[in-house]
Assembly symmetry: C2
Homo-oligomer: 214 residues x 2
């Protein structure tokens, strides 16, 4: 599974210059928003200051985010769509869980690039409940998007298959659990091992065959 | 599994009069809090009004809840402990998932008693983000408590087994998904069927054996 995830990543089309620039600006704004919010608390940061930190105008800020909270949470609709595209693009004969496992595992190829900012963001959300609605909305968006992708693979409506919903919710959940575990262990263990342990348990079933026999 | 869940419920010790009275008062306060909050919005309800609605003093209110938000969310530490006790009390040779599946399924024997209030509470949380922190804390408490119970069964530390965490998180998650699905279908389907469908998928593994062969 890990090998196919690597392949899927390598197959991702390179971005054009304009798209690359846009992505860089978005990431810079999100990074500045998180950093400033961590330094002073989200309430003490203005959109102007976030824009200033990246040397763009407030108007440009609003091309990317509709609020300060959105910039701090930093969710990227295009990045999300790219994840869904990968799910839809997995081989048609792959079982639903194998497909989503490959896509989610693929996100961890670049874990070093986003883990620190994610940890900072989670700390901010824990300490500042004003960020919670936006944070949960982002979580929900990920699951809904993946569910749409999964439903498309299966040829059903997004709310037409409880099985698809179980596969998506459970997989995303296992991924988050592995990440939480990894952070709780101060990243002294391999995130890939944790992911594989959690995904393997789901793949083979929560009742190991040896126990089923009893 | 459903049969054993019923047994577990029937085995629960009957409460003494004092405990029963306490539980009734708690439930009445929580019910009044949710009802009043739904009528006027949580910000327009005072603790005094909640206590008045149940004909107890504000002082009595604070014997049960430390804040208005807590009363609206209505989480019951003793009820939570009873759930954990049931998990710990399941037969020692039961596989972790079978044990937690039985305990969670058992909660649905009385689903008619709590489904309306739960739906009202969820609507309130969606509409009033000020309730979110308390709501998420209650969710988190359930998972942490079940994880403690599961760890006790397995003879490990609560943060000592990723497998135990996967089983607990995934099971609770599947239960919530079945409930969400049930509400989305206006309860026109059987919640027991939905629960069994979700739990069966987890039990046998997310990759059905027939697909594994390909």
């Amino acid at each position: 599974v890990t090998d196919t995830a690597v392949e899927a990543d390598a197959e991702a089309e390179p971005l054009g210059r304009r798209e690359r620039k846009k992505l860089e600006t978005r990431r810079a704004l999100a990074g500045a928003a998180v950093r400033l919010a961590a330094e002073r608390g989200p309430d003490q940061v203005t959109i102007e200051e976030i824009a200033d930190a990246v040397d763009v105008s407030v108007r440009t800020f609003f091309n990317y985010f509709s609020s300060k909270e959105e910039a701090i949470i930093g969710w990227d609709p295009e990045g999300l769509q790219a994840i869904v595209d990968r799910l839809v693009g997995r081989p048609a004969d792959e079982a639903p869980f194998i497909a989503i496992r490959a896509v989610l595992s693929g996100l961890f190829e670049g874990v070093e690039e986003w883990a620190d900012e994610r940890a900072l963001r989670h700390r901010l959300v824990r300490e500042h409940p004003s960020l919670l609605p936006r944070f949960l909305a982002a979580h929900h968006d990920l699951e809904r998007s993946l569910l749409r992708g999964m439903a498309a693979r299966l040829g059903v409506e997004p709310d037409g298959s409880l099985y698809a919903a179980v596969v998506v919710t459970t997989s995303v959940n296992a991924m988050r659990l592995a990440l939480t575990w990894w952070e709780a262990k101060d990243r002294a263990v391999s995130i890939t091992d944790l992911l594989n342990e959690a995904f393997d348990a789901l793949e083979r079933g929560l009742v190991p065959p040896t126990r089923k026999a009893t």
